[in-house]
């Protein structure tokens, strides 16, 4: 299967007053064409920095980048800012976590939708308006004509996110980045938006990267998953394989911390004790060792490499789950 995007040994460091902050460390990942890839991790795991870098949205004198990004046969990492910008809309598009701040509060929905149609696809004003209404209908907004005249503040969070999606798909992108697209929304609206995204993906033959902290969201909506911890990929597999043969204690801990409907009322939730290591001073061993309930002496001494369990299931652990290692109590 060909990859629409391929990221090779990417590292991203930020120069900060406290020293170099290593946000992403040696990450390689392919986004197969037509598939949906989930990137999962806690706040601070580097998942947003990774996706921003993949879109060429990181800049500034304090950013140090290494590695190679190939998108649609072109080397994105070697392009100028202007050239990368030309890929937006028709090549890549993105939707963000907070649909209120991502939309311009003083412009009507119609103007914000028509903008990319006119600039990218060269439509005239009238054609852009007709297409805008079609796009709003495509994301299941009732009465699209009326919606064109509204301002973002007049819409609910779910409606704003639908508008964001309409803007993102307006120029038929090959790859859609969705960074926590449903985190700010209610569960009922979340399930609607996730279903909408997978239908659009199928109908428009789009690939998608879904960045989230919730393994529950990933389960029903992706084909592949990469779990990130402290800037590294610690486990990567097809979604079905990841949930069936979990290798990494961190992935298991993330899964166990999700509140479930069928748990006993009054039961204690399992938590991941402690917090992510300081990104300016990484531990020499496994980044998760200090919080891992299976930790061994080797874990704190040596950094585990990313190994393949066969069938492309990658994990970064000296003592993966499913082996006969006694759990430390």
């Amino acid at each position: 299967m060909s990859a629409v995007m391929s990221i090779k040994s990417m590292s991203i460091k930020f120069a900060t007053p406290r020293g170099l902050l290593e946000a992403v460390r040696d990450v390689s990942i392919d986004i197969p064409a037509g598939s949906s890839v989930g990137i999962v991790g806690e706040s601070g795991s580097g998942k947003t920095v990774l996706s921003r870098a993949a879109m060429g949205l990181l800049s500034g004198s304090n950013v140090q980048r290494e590695g190679k990004i190939v998108f649609d046969g072109k080397e994105l990492s070697a392009m100028t800012r202007e050239q990368v910008r030309n890929e937006f809309g028709t090549g890549m598009a993105m939707i963000f976590q907070d649909p209120m701040t991502a939309l311009n509060p003083v412009r009507r929905i119609g103007a914000q939708l028509a903008e990319s149609l006119q600039i990218r696809l060269g439509m005239d004003k009238k054609a852009a308006k007709i297409r805008s209404a079609e796009l709003l209908a495509l994301v299941r907004i009732p009465d699209p004509e009326a919606m064109l005249r509204k301002f973002p503040y007049q819409l609910s969070g779910g409606m704003r996110q639908r508008v964001m999606i309409a803007i993102a798909i307006s120029c038929n992108p090959k790859l859609l980045f969705a960074d926590e697209p449903t985190t700010a929304l209610d569960v009922t609206v979340q399930s609607q938006i996730l279903q909408l995204l997978s239908e659009l993906r199928r109908d428009l033959n789009m690939s998608m990267v879904l960045v989230t902290h919730d393994l529950g969201v990933v389960a029903g909506n992706t084909d592949y998953v990469a779990v990130m911890y402290a800037g590294e990929i610690v486990e990567q597999a097809s979604t079905v394989d990841l949930f069936a043969n979990m290798k990494m204690p961190y992935t298991e801990a993330l899964l166990n911390s999700i509140p479930k409907i069928n748990m006993q009322s009054g039961a204690r939730l399992q938590v991941i004790e402690g917090r992510l290591p300081d990104p300016t001073q990484r531990p020499s061993g496994c980044g998760f060792a200090a919080r891992c309930s299976y930790v061994q002496a080797k874990c704190t001494a040596e950094h585990p490499p990313l190994v393949d369990a066969g069938n492309g299931h990658l994990y970064r652990c000296w003592f993966p789950l499913g082996n006969t290692i006694a759990r430390k109590q």
Binding site: E42, S43, G44, P142, S156, G157, G158, M159, D186, V187, T188, V189, Q190, S191, Q192, L194, Q195, H213, D214, L215, G216, V217, V218, A219, G220, T239, V240, F243, A244, A253, L254, L255, S257, I258, P259, K260, I261, N262, M263, S265, G266, A267, R268, L269, Q270, V271, I272, R275
Partner: protein
């Protein structure tokens, strides 16, 4: 939903908070009125955690604040430990309110960025003149310890130096400073990562046991609520749909809305097909709520009777009350 009625009230000696026929409306200009909370009655027993669940805009936050008379409701009674808060003169209300404290949704914006953690937690004690400065310092340290923060490390820092989870711990310490008997938590974990959510939910349980609190827990997520509550109240558009014990409601939801909410919770299992979305669209405007049952416009089982007659809460199983003409059980 849509229901009114008092069948679910318990009228025993253990009732700490008794809310009767509470109405909160906001005038929004042009003679329009937002009917945020429409004649809601409920009670909370000592040591109980009541979860109020519903989508954005259902009036759950307004209801939580109306208990504290923030702002005072348009009509109805809020009887806390035998005192009707709606009838108290201002100064007595201020003093009565120290027994009920609130934890807010956004932990970062609910803390003053210019105050140190010591000042934030000490402020309620200082305002109410609880002890000398030395005594208050001891109390502040004890509170911070209890919520899992190291006093030495945090006392002189400000809120922006902390993560969301830590800020929520500080908020909880502050809310416990006056030794309240009731805690109202308004979406205390919805702004947090799943792994941090579990920590805060467990902390709230611990604090409830340690301080003997009665809690009202407001959330849009039925999965989050399951772990912490003894009783659940599902709201829709300012009315109660269903009230009862979590075990019954989760296993056999009687209201179509409750069942739709349960179906929306993402399941972390890729092999399980997500239930088809039973809830389309968004709630109608609270300015002009539908006649009869307010849920009928989105309900799969709606009939003419639902438009004509408002359903009353009635018991359908032991400790399960539902306001629906065509309940699922």
């Amino acid at each position: 939903m849509a229901g009114s009625g008092t069948a679910h009230l318990r009228n025993n000696d253990e009732v700490v908070l008794d809310v009767r026929d509470l109405v909160v409306e906001f005038r929004v200009g042009s003679g329009l009125v937002v009917k945020a909370v429409s004649k809601i009655s409920f009670d909370v027993c000592r040591g109980e955690t009541l979860a109020i669940v519903g989508e954005s805009g259902c009036g759950k936050t307004t209801l939580g604040k109306a208990i504290l008379q923030l702002p005072p409701p348009n009509s109805g009674d809020v009887i806390f430990e035998g005192t009707n808060l709606t009838k108290l003169p201002k100064e007595q209300l201020r003093s009565a309110r120290t027994a009920i404290q609130m934890v807010f949704q956004d932990p970062i914006s609910s803390l003053d960025p210019r105050m140190t953690v010591r000042e934030i937690v000490d402020e309620p004690l200082w305002i109410w003149g609880r002890g000398s400065e030395a005594e208050r310092e001891v109390k502040v340290r004890e509170l911070l310890n209890n919520v899992g923060l190291e006093p030495e490390l945090v006392l002189n820092r400000r809120s922006y130096e902390f993560s969301g989870g830590q800020c929520q711990r500080i908020s909880i310490a502050r809310s416990l400073a006056l030794e309240p008997r009731m805690l109202i938590c308004d979406e205390p974990v919805s702004a947090l990562d799943v792994s941090i959510q579990a920590q805060i939910l467990n902390l709230l349980q611990d604090m409830k046991d340690r301080y003997g609190l009665t809690m009202v827990f407001i959330s849009h997520d039925l999965a989050v609520v399951k772990a912490v509550s003894n009783r659940i109240m599902v709201m829709y558009l300012g009315k109660i749909c269903e009230v009862g014990s979590p075990d019954v409601i989760y296993s056999k939801p009687a209201h179509h809305y409750t069942s739709a909410l349960l179906d929306s919770v993402p399941v972390p299992d890729p092999t399980r097909k997500q239930a088809a979305i039973s809830l389309q669209g968004e709630p109608p405007s609270p300015v002009a709520p539908p006649s009869g049952c307010r849920f009928r416009t989105r309900c799969p089982a709606a009939t003419e009777k639902c438009a004509a007659e408002e359903p009353q809460l009635r018991e359908v199983a032991l400790d399960q009350f539902v306001a629906c003409h065509h309940p699922r059980v």
